[in-house]
Symmetry: C2
Subunit: 393 residues, 2 copies
């Protein structure tokens, strides 16, 4: 096992009707910036539940945070925080709203251009306290200190993290996800699945508990994901997906093991340049990336094939049988692609009308962001990225 530090002080409040608890979690004297997205929370009743819970609080609203939250939007939130002397930020939404709120929380105390926070990893000394009401299980942002911000004018999408942007609390009510379109549930399941894979599918370091916890989430997502599409009103299914997505990226399964965030890195460029949903970018990149890394990841792919996919294994009696193992590796990658497709997420660039002409500028972006040695051993070069993108066509 590798050495590690772990800290996650987020309070999780989980269950139906828990939004009413908001009034106990935020001090009465605190002036709140309520951050949300395009208004779906007004249609599904979450907005009303939040306002009712906080009827005695002073609230300033900041709606309109878009998917892949934009710097250009968020700087207006930072201005509003300063103008209104906000004490507390309440994010009501999915990962985009929460990530955007984290950027506002950190940017409020940063006196230069807040884009420095993502582009130059400017040190964050302080952030406004933050709480969340999660409406879309996917990114895990409700229980971590990460945030990914996009910039419209430069078509960039970059991440930052800081202990100061951990939410103080997150309210997870699975029943608020009943009204989500199936594509969004599918996106969330695939996003969470890939988060787990990026902390699991590297090389073995004799950390069996972390491996099995990762496998626990993978199996649960593979079982519950399709159920959620078939029975959108089933509370337990939604609860299991919601908790799995949170556990997928609260850093617990990643302690003491190597990680490989290259699928996210490449997918961010794809989303920033071509406008694809985050999860769809992941579903395109991941199978091709693992295919090119199949030698480095071989031991873990076989473990995944056996324990998660439960593929039948041949009895290995001689060296020649390594061919059979190779075919299991390739089958495991293919089955993963089939899982994404089964969730309704297409896994080829052509499915989104993107062809090879997009590749050179994606590679340029990666190079420009210094992403030239990716993967758990830094072995994914720009040339490998090119091959991965070509295989993704």
């Amino acid at each position: 096992m590798l050495d590690f530090n772990f800290l996650n002080p987020v309070k999780i409040i989980f269950g139906k009707g828990k939004i009413a608890r908001l009034s106990k979690e935020i001090l009465r004297k605190h002036k709140i910036l309520m951050v949300y997205g395009g208004g779906s929370i007004k249609r599904n009743g979450v907005y009303q539940q939040v306002r009712e819970a906080l009827i005695e609080h002073q609230i300033v609203e900041f709606p309109g945070v878009e998917s892949n939250p934009k710097y250009e939007t968020l700087v207006k939130g930072i201005e509003l925080v300063r103008k209104e002397k906000i004490d507390f930020i309440l994010a009501v939404g999915g990962g985009s709203v929460i990530d955007g709120s984290k950027f506002i929380a950190a940017g409020a105390f940063y006196d230069k251009d807040p884009w420095d926070i993502v582009s130059k990893h400017a040190k964050i000394q302080k952030a406004l306290p933050l709480g969340t009401v999660l409406t879309l299980p996917a990114t895990g942002s409700e229980m971590n200190a990460n945030s990914v911000i996009s910039r419209r004018d430069s078509q960039e999408k970059l991440a930052f993290h800081s202990v100061h942007i951990f939410p103080q609390f997150s309210i997870l009510d699975p029943s608020v996800t009943f009204s989500l379109p199936s594509e969004q549930i599918a996106n969330g399941v695939v996003d969470a699945f890939v988060h787990v894979m990026e902390q699991y599918l590297t090389y073995p370091v004799n950390a069996p508990l972390q491996d099995r916890m990762a496998e626990a989430i993978l199996i649960t997502l593979m079982e519950e994901g399709p159920k959620a599409l078939l029975s959108p009103q089933d509370y337990d299914t939604r609860a299991n997906i919601m908790w799995s997505a949170t556990m997928a990226l609260n850093h617990l399964i990643g302690v003491g093991v190597p990680s490989d965030w290259s699928t996210h890195t490449m997918s961010h460029e794809l989303t920033a340049s071509c406008g694809l949903d985050h999860a769809r970018s992941l579903a395109i990149i991941f199978p091709s990336l693992v295919y090119f890394q199949r030698k480095e990841k071989r031991a873990k792919i076989l473990q995944y094939a056996e324990r998660v996919l439960r593929l039948p294994f041949p009895s290995i009696s001689s060296d020649g049988d390594q061919d059979k193992m190779d075919s299991i590796v390739e089958l495991a990658i293919e089955r993963t692609r089939q899982f994404f497709e089964g969730m309704g997420i297409k896994t080829r660039l052509r499915d989104y009308a993107i062809n090879e002409s997009a590749i050179p500028s994606l590679l340029e972006k990666l190079e420009g962001h210094g992403m030239v040695k990716l993967g758990e051993r830094g072995s994914i070069t720009l040339d490998t990225c090119k091959q991965i993108l070509e295989r993704s066509l």
Copy 2:
């Protein structure tokens, strides 16, 4: 899945040599009470590592905290805290030292008899900040807000918990466990195993992720436990046991599922009255208790038999085959007992020269402490306890 709240703000610092990090975790101006046990930390070098790391800090030592830490000892620690105007408590030891330190931390601000904290569940408003250097993986106290305190004069052993007694940090260096006697490693593995079982072996509530995470810890302990006895110097084995024991009782696997702490409740009486090691009390009570609860816990015992023990299952084609399932249930319980015995932990009262004459007073103690309806459904009466103890002979 059941509703839940989860909060665990403990910072874990994991790896060989991490004790040196102490100086960065405790403010230089803080006067420290260093709490430890019988002096084994002086023989294995941990004491020296701690003193070297904190060479610039002012330290008052409080050695001599015993196994099943005693109220009579700990009140002297509370007096010392007040007299010396201590700012921070550093527990260096296993669960007993950490639990004792938590009691001192809470008792320091409690102006009546601190025994009220355990006997009357007196409300804790405040506690001194606390950090730990873990030397024995077992109780999980390094990452939770629980503490169990014993009292010599009344032969009582009672628990309390409070968010104020979460350690601020815990340093987990698996290499400091190399010198532990094998009985202590065995105790730790069994203690952690039973902690998981008490959060797992109840009834299903459709919480597959929690189930699989619990199974992940159980399988890891069953695999790594015997290895630790065979190869006491193997770092990864010790690391895997240490992290498993922490994860077994940091409350994460218990969120959203029922729990049944009756084995601990009964075992506390056994330890308090008969002086048995905590883990040995658990190993005696647990198999008998599950036997009497085998109908209530049937579905989960079968799941455990299949997924953790990998027992071969008959194909069930008719009602008559329920007998076969009954035999699997009994075999699963027996295999669990064999696991404890294989770790060198005897599982019968007679192995410790305790006979039926001890039972009446144990039942009296349980009744006196109000423990008359135990188990996840409150179905374990004093009469069941009597049967459990008799079967444990």
